[in-house]
C-alpha cells in the first residue's frame, strides 16, 4: 500500500540547512497496523507529513496504492488526501464551532457528498465509535477520549485507503488510551491499513509491526 525508497527531506531555516530525512526506505502492506517509533528529532513527524501528502519530499520515491506521489500540485494533493487518507491528530483538531456530526461530515463536504447522505453517514460513523447520542454536541462539551473517537470517525468518513495517526493517545490518560487503541485495532481488524506514529512502547507493542527511526534513517523495520 505504501512504498518509500530513499526519501530525503531537508528544512532550511535562515542560512542553515537541516537534513531531517536522509533516505528512508519502508513498506506498509494493505491491512497492516504499523507503528513508527523514534525519539524526538528522529524525523518521524516529518515522515508522517510526507506520507500524508501534507509536505513535499526532496528526493526518492513514494508510491501510495501503486501511484507515484512525485511533484503533486496543491490541488491534486488535496484531492488525493480526501480520497485516500484519513488523519488522526494528537490534539484531535476538531473544528470548535461545529458539532460532532458536522466535524465527521466535513471530509464528505469537500467530496461534494449531498447533505442528507452526509448526515446519514456521519451518524452511522458516530454510532460505530459509540458516540451517536453526542452527535449534536460541540467538541468543548466532550472529554478527550470522546473527541479522539470523533476524530477517528472523521478520519473514516471519506472511506480512505490508509489512516495516519500522529500520537493518537498523546493527550489521553492511560485508560482512555487503551480504549482508543482498541478502537484502532478493531478498525484494523476490519481491513483498514494504519500507520501510527508514537513514542510510547505500549502503543507500539499493540501494533503489528514497528518501524524505528533514528537520525533520519530507518533503524529497523520489523518483519514485513
Amino acid at each position: 500500500m505504501i512504498e518509500l525508497q530513499s526519501i530525503t527531506k531537508s528544512y532550511t531555516t535562515g542560512s542553515q540547512s537541516l537534513q531531517v530525512l536522509k533516505g528512508v526506505d519502508m513498506q506498509v502492506s494493505a491491512g497492516e497496523l504499523v507503528a513508527i517509533m523514534g525519539s524526538s528529532g528522529s524525523g518521524k513527524s516529518t515522515l508522517l507529513n510526507i506520507l500524508g501528502l501534507l509536505d513535499a519530499y526532496d528526493g526518492g520515491l513514494y508510491h501510495l496504492d501503486g501511484k507515484d506521489m512525485a511533484g503533486l500540485s496543491e490541488r491534486r494533493a488535496a484531492e488525493l488526501r480526501r480520497e485516500m487518507l484519513g488523519f488522526v491528530f494528537q490534539s484531535f483538531n476538531l473544528i470548535p464551532f461545529k458539532s460532532a456530526a458536522e466535524n465527521v461530515a466535513l471530509p464528505l463536504y469537500y467530496q461534494k457528498v449531498p447533505r442528507k447522505e452526509r448526515a446519514r453517514r456521519s451518524h452511522a460513523l458516530l454510532e460505530r465509535v459509540g458516540l451517536l447520542e453526542w452527535a449534536d454536541h460541540l467538541p468543548s462539551q466532550m472529554s478527550g477520549g470522546q473527541k479522539q473517537r470523533v476524530a477517528i470517525a472523521r478520519a473514516l468518513a471519506a472511506s480512505p485507503r490508509v489512516i495516519l495517526a500522529d500520537e493518537p493517545t498523546g493527550a489521553l490518560d492511560s485508560a482512555t488510551s487503551e480504549d482508543v487503541m482498541a478502537l484502532l485495532k478493531e478498525l484494523n481488524g476490519e481491513g483498514m491499513t494504519m500507520v501510527v506514529v508514537t513514542h510510547e512502547a505500549e502503543i507500539a507493542a499493540a501494533c503489528g509491526r514497528t518501524i524505528r527511526l533514528r537520525d533520519g534513517l530507518v533503524e529497523s523495520q520489523g518483519h514485513v
Partner: protein
C-alpha cells in the same frame, strides 16, 4: 461554491455568528459609510430642491435683458452712451432671432422702496406697476385666482385694465369687497381691475411678487408717457436651445441694431434663469460629488476595518484552515470561503446601513411635510442610481478587501497549522 446550496451558507453563518459582537463591530464601519453617503447625498438633494423651488417655478428657459451705458466708442459714438431699448428693437428681435419663442417688452413704475402710488377710495399702497404683454404669463407664470389676465384686445384697444396681486388686494380692498370691475388710481390714472393673481414663488419673494399690478403694455406706455421706450425685455428661449447660446444671439443682434461695439462687454446687461439654473446645478452637482467622495472614504475605512478583522481571524483560524486542508479542501475551496465571508460581511453591513439611511431620509421628509416646512431644505431623497452606485462601490471594495485575507489563508501550510 455554488450559491444555491445550503451548506456554504450554513458554514458562513457559523463563522460569522461565532463571535457576533466582534462581527457587529467590524461591520459597523461599512454600514456607517453607506449610511453617511445616503444621508449627505440625500441632504444635498433636499437643499437643491428647496433652493430651486424657492426660486419659484419660473420657466427655466427665460431671460431678461436691458440697456446700460457703453464702454467702447463705436461708429462715431463716444463711450459712456446710454443704450435705451425701444419698440422697433423688439420688432427687430421678433423678426430675426432664431433661438427665441417669445419676446416681451416690459415697463415699470416705481422702483425699489417706492412711495405710495396706487389708491382705491381712501386706501393707498406702494406697488410695482408693470406694462406687460399677454405672453409674459408664459415667461413668469402666476396663478390667476379671480377674473383673467391681460389679453391681446386689451393691448390693441389700449384698455385701462389691471391685474392685481393678492397683496395689493389686501392693501386696497376690504375682505368682502367686490374687486373685479372696481376702479383703482395709478398715479392719477384710473384703471379697472379685471383679475387677481397669486405668485408661485414662496416666502418673501412671493410677497414682493404679489405686491404688483400688471397693465397692458400699450396702455401703460400711453398713460405714463413712456413713448416707445422699453424698460427691459423678457425672453422665452426655445426649449432645446442652451441659455447662453440664445443670449449670445440676442446680444449680437441688438449690438448691431443699436451700434454698440461687438466686443463691448457692456451696453446691455442680462439675467437668465437658464444660466442661473445651470450654475445652481453645477454647484449642487459638486455638493453631491463631495458627499459621495467623503462618504466613499468613510466606506473605504469601513472596508479596511473588515479586511483587518478578517486578517486577524485568519491568524486565529490557522488550525481550522489547516484541518480543512488536511481533510481535502483545495486551495480554491479556501480562497472562495474567505472571499465569500469577507464579501458577505461587507454587503450585509452595507445593506443594513443603506436601509437605515433610506429610512432616515424618508422619516426626515415625512417630518418636513407634516411640519409644512417650506424652507430652503425640502424633500431630501436619494435617487436609485445613487443607491446602486453606492452598493456597487461597496461590493467592489468588499471583494478587494477579501483578496488579502484569502491570500493569507492560502499561505497557511497544513503542516504548520497542525503542529502541536
Amino acid at each position: 461554491m455554488r450559491w444555491w446550496e445550503r451548506d456554504p451558507w450554513i458554514e458562513l453563518a457559523q463563522v460569522l455568528l461565532r463571535n457576533p459582537f466582534r462581527t457587529f463591530l467590524s461591520s459597523l464601519g461599512v454600514g456607517w459609510g453607506l449610511f453617511m453617503i445616503l444621508i449627505t447625498v440625500g441632504a444635498s438633494n433636499g437643499l437643491e430642491e428647496g433652493v430651486k423651488s424657492d426660486m419659484g417655478n419660473r420657466v427655466k428657459n427665460s431671460a431678461f435683458l436691458w440697456g446700460e451705458s457703453t464702454t467702447l466708442p463705436y461708429k462715431g459714438y463716444p463711450r459712456g452712451r446710454w443704450i435705451e431699448l425701444t419698440s422697433p428693437d423688439v420688432e427687430y428681435l421678433v423678426e430675426n432671432a432664431t433661438t427665441l419663442d417669445a419676446v416681451a417688452p416690459r415697463n415699470q413704475l416705481g422702483g425699489w422702496r417706492r412711495g405710495n402710488n396706487v389708491t382705491h377710495g381712501l386706501k393707498t399702497a406702494a406697488c410695482g406697476v408693470y406694462g406687460d404683454m399677454p405672453i409674459y404669463k408664459d415667461i413668469d407664470p402666476i396663478l390667476i385666482t379671480e377674473g383673467r389676465y391681460i389679453n391681446q384686445r386689451d393691448l390693441d384697444d389700449r384698455r385701462k385694465v389691471a391685474v392685481i396681486g393678492k397683496r395689493v388686494r389686501q392693501l386696497l380692498f376690504d375682505r368682502e369687497e367686490q374687486v373685479l370691475g372696481s376702479h383703482i388710481q395709478i398715479q392719477g390714472v384710473t384703471f379697472t381691475v379685471v383679475g387677481v393673481y397669486k405668485s408661485q414663488q414662496t416666502g418673501e419673494d412671493a410677497e414682493e411678487a404679489e405686491n404688483s399690478i400688471f397693465t397692458p403694455y400699450t396702455t401703460f406706455n400711453h398713460a405714463f408717457h413712456m413713448g416707445d421706450r422699453v424698460g427691459w425685455l423678457s425672453l422665452l428661449i426655445k426649449e432645446d436651445v442652451p441659455g447662453d447660446t440664445a443670449v449670445a444671439e440676442v446680444l449680437r443682434l441688438l449690438k448691431a441694431q443699436k451700434s454698440v461695439h461687438p466686443d463691448d462687454p457692456r451696453g446691455f446687461d442680462h439675467w437668465s434663469m437658464a444660466e442661473m439654473h445651470e450654475e445652481m446645478s453645477t454647484v449642487f452637482g459638486a455638493f453631491r460629488w463631495v458627499s459621495f467622495v467623503f462618504g466613499g472614504l468613510a466606506l473605504f475605512a469601513g472596508v479596511i476595518g473588515i479586511m483587518n478583522i478578517m486578517l486577524i481571524t485568519i491568524k486565529e483560524r490557522t488550525r481550522e484552515l489547516g484541518v480543512r486542508r488536511a481533510l481535502g479542501a483545495t486551495p480554491a475551496n479556501i480562497v472562495v470561503q474567505i472571499m465569500v465571508e469577507t464579501l458577505t460581511l461587507t454587503v450585509l453591513a452595507g445593506l443594513i446601513g443603506g436601509i437605515l439611511g433610506v429610512f432616515a431620509l424618508e422619516a426626515l421628509d415625512a417630518y418636513l411635510i407634516s411640519a409644512e416646512d417650506n424652507g430652503i431644505f425640502r424633500h431630501p431623497h436619494v435617487t436609485l442610481d445613487v443607491l446602486v452606485t453606492a452598493l456597487t462601490t461597496m461590493t467592489i471594495l468588499g471583494a478587494f478587501a477579501g483578496v488579502l485575507p484569502a491570500l493569507r489563508a492560502l499561505r497557511v501550510q497544513p503542516v504548520e497549522a497542525l503542529r502541536t
